[in-house]
C-alpha cells in the first residue's frame, strides 16, 4: 500500500473519533434519563447500623415480611453465615420462603450480622451487596406469579452456596 498522505490519515482518524465520542455520550445520557428521570436506580446512602447489635435494632429485631399498605410489603431480612433470616429467630432452615400476592410492591431492607453477603432475586432488578454496618434497601414490584429464587452472591464461607430462599408470588 502506498503511504497515505498525512491529511487523509487525519481524515480517517477523525471519522473514527467522532462516533467514538458520540456513541458513549448517547449511552450515558440514556442511562442518566432512565436512572434519574424514570427512577430505575441503584441504591444510594441507605442507613447504618452497629453489626454487633442487629438483634436489638429495629426493624431487624423482628425480621420477616409484613404488609405496610394496600399491595405494599416490607421484607426485613438479616443475612448471616449461611442463611437469610426472614422469620422468627428459632427457624434454623437454610432455605427461607416468603409469599406475596401478585401486584405487590415489596421493599427489601437487609443487613448483615457477620461478613459481606449479596442479595440477588432472579428476574428482578433486586441486586445488592449486604455489608455489615450498612443497611441495604430497594423496592421491586411483582406482577408475574411464580417462584423467584434469591441467592447469596458474595462469597461468605464454605457454605456460601447453601444460602438461598424463594419468594412465591401468587
Amino acid at each position: 500500500m502506498q503511504r497515505p498522505d498525512r491529511m487523509s490519515i487525519y481524515i480517517y482518524e477523525f471519522a473514527w473519533i467522532l462516533p467514538s465520542i458520540a456513541i458513549p455520550v448517547a449511552m450515558i445520557v440514556a442511562i442518566a434519563i432512565s436512572a434519574f428521570a424514570m427512577g430505575i436506580n441503584v441504591q444510594g446512602v441507605t442507613g447504618r447500623i452497629d453489626p454487633a447489635r442487629v438483634n436489638e435494632t429495629p426493624p431487624f429485631d423482628r425480621p420477616g415480611l409484613r404488609q405496610v399498605g394496600p399491595n405494599r410489603y416490607e421484607a426485613v431480612i438479616v443475612a448471616e453465615i449461611w442463611r437469610w433470616v426472614a422469620a422468627t429467630p428459632d427457624d434454623k432452615s437454610r432455605r427461607v420462603e416468603l409469599t406475596v400476592p401478585r401486584g405487590s410492591e415489596v421493599t427489601f431492607i437487609v443487613t448483615s450480622r457477620d461478613v459481606i453477603h449479596g442479595l440477588k432475586i432472579e428476574n428482578t432488578d433486586v441486586n445488592m451487596m449486604i455489608i455489615p454496618g450498612q443497611i441495604s434497601r430497594t423496592t421491586a414490584r411483582f406482577d408475574i406469579p411464580g417462584d423467584y429464587l434469591f441467592v447469596c452472591h458474595e462469597y461468605c464461607g464454605t457454605g456460601h452456596h447453601f444460602m438461598y430462599g424463594v419468594l412465591h408470588v401468587e
Binding site: 449511552m27 432512565s34 440477588k120 432488578d125 450498612q134 464461607g157
Partner: protein, 556 residues
Amino acid sequence: MTTETVRRFGAEGRLAAAYFIVALAALAVGGLMGTFQALNYAGVNEILGFSFYEDLAFIFSYYQALTLHGVLLVLVWTTFFICGFLIYVTVNALETPLRSLRFGWATFGLMLFGLLLAAVPILSNDATVLFTFYPPLKASPLYYIGLTLVVVATWGVLVSLVLTYLTWRRLNAGRRTPLPAFMALITMAMWTISTAGIAAEMLFLMIPWSLGLVQGTDPLLARTLFWFTGHPIVYFWLLPAYISWYTMVPKQAGGRLFSDPMARVAFLLFLLLSIPVGLHHQYADPGIQHAMKFLQALFTFGVFFPSLLTFFNVVASLENAGRARGGTGWLSWIIKLPWGNASFTAQVLAMILFAFGGIGGLVNASYNVNNVVHNTSWVVGHFHLTVGTAVTLTFMGILYWLVPYLSGKRLFSNRLALVQAWTWFIGMALFSNALHRLGLLGMPRRSMIGNAPYLALQPEWQSILPFVGIGGVLMTISGLLFFTILILTVTVSKAPANVEFPRAEAVSGPEDAPAILDRWRPWLIGSLVLIAIAYVPPLVAQLSSLSLASPGFRPW
C-alpha cells in the same frame, strides 16, 4: 526472515526469564484449579474415583481452590509476566541497558519473597478469602503482608524503568520517546499511582487488624480502597497486551502501525482515566451516594474512548499489513494475514474475543443496567474474555516468539501452537457464552454451583452448565499443549531460533504528534486531579463516619 545472531541485552533477558518462569508456574497451577471449577459446574467432582476437592493434598475446599485460582492467575501470572516483559521491552526500545541489574534482581527477589509468604497461608487453608479478601473475612497476616510486598516490589520495577529512561533521555535530548518504552512507562506509572488504594487498605486496615493490633474494621471503606486499585489493575494487565498489539503485531503481520500519535493519545487517556472509575465495582453497594457512583460511571464511559481508538488503530494496522501482502478489497485482505504464524494468530484471536469482552464490559459499566448482571456468572464470562483471553492468549502468543528469542532455540512446533491458540479460542467461546447466559438467568458467581441445593430448582441452568464444562476442558487441553510446547522448546528443540525482535514502524510516525504528548508532568497532574475529583468526596464521607465495628470471621 532475518536472524539476529547476536541477541542484545542478555542479562536483562535472564531477569525477564526469571519473571516468566514464576508467571508460568502460577498459570499452570491456577489453571488446573479452573479446570476443577468448570467440571464442578458441569456436575463432575471426581474422575475415576479421584475427587478434586477431597483427595488432593493442599486442596481443602472449592473456595480455597478458587482463592488459588484468582490469586495465581490475576495477581501472579499477570504481574510477574508484565514486570519481566516491560523491563525487556523498555531496554530494547531505548537500546539502553537497565540502569542497575542488581536493583532489578533485588526487586524480583522481593516480589518472589512476598509471593511465597502469601502462598503459605493459602495452601494451609488459612487464607480462604478469595483474591479480593473482603473483610470481615479474616486471613492469616502472612497473606496480607505477602501480597503487600508483591505490590511494593512492583514500585521497584517503575524505579528501574524510570532510571533507565533518564539515562536514555540524557543522551537523546529532544528525541521522541520510542513508542514501546513510552507505553511501558505509562503502564507502570498508572499502576503505581493506583496502588495507593490497596497500600492504604493493607497498611491501615488489614495488616493491623489481622495482627490483632486493632479489634475491628470497616468493610465498606476496605472495599472502596480495594477497588481504587482493583479497576486500574485491569488496565495494568491489558496495556502490556496493547503494547504488543500496537508495536509488535503489525510487524509480525508484515505491515506498519497505522498511527503512532493516536496510539500515544490512547495511552495518555488510559493514564488519565483508568483510576477514577473504581466505584463502578460498587454500584450495588449501600452507603455510597448516587452522585458519586454516577460520576465514576461517566469516567468509565470516558475510558471506553481510548479502547475504541485502540480498536481502530490496531485493525487499521492489520489492514495495512494485509494490503502490503497483496490483499485487496474491503475484507479480503484479512485472508492474506499470516494465519500460519502461531504468535500472530494467538494474538489476533485474543483481539477478537476481546471485542466481545469490551461490549459486555459496557453492560457492566452501565450503572443501573449493572443490577441485571452484578456478581452473576455473567461477570465471570466477561473477565475470562478480557484477562483470561485478551491478556492471557496475547501473552502466550508473545512467548511463542520471545521464548525462542531468549533461549536461542526454535519453537518446538508452530503447528501445535496454532492448534493451541484455536483450541483456547473455541473453548473460551463456549465457556464464556454459557457463563454469560447463566448470569442473565441469575446464576451467582463465586459459588460451588455443582453442589448448590438451589440448582435443583433451575432446569434452564442445568441445560447450559455442561457447556461450561466442555469449554473448560478444551481450555485445559489448550493449556496442556501450551506448556508442552514451551517445555519442549527449551529442552528438546535443537534448531536455532529464527525470530527477530518485532519492532513495527508507523505509517504516521511520532513526528506527526504534537510535542505535548512527550511531556510527563501535565498528564501526571491531570491524572491526580481526576482522581481527586472522583475519590475525595466518597473517601471523606466514609472516613468521617468511620466505624471499626466489624470483628474478624473465619467461616471456612
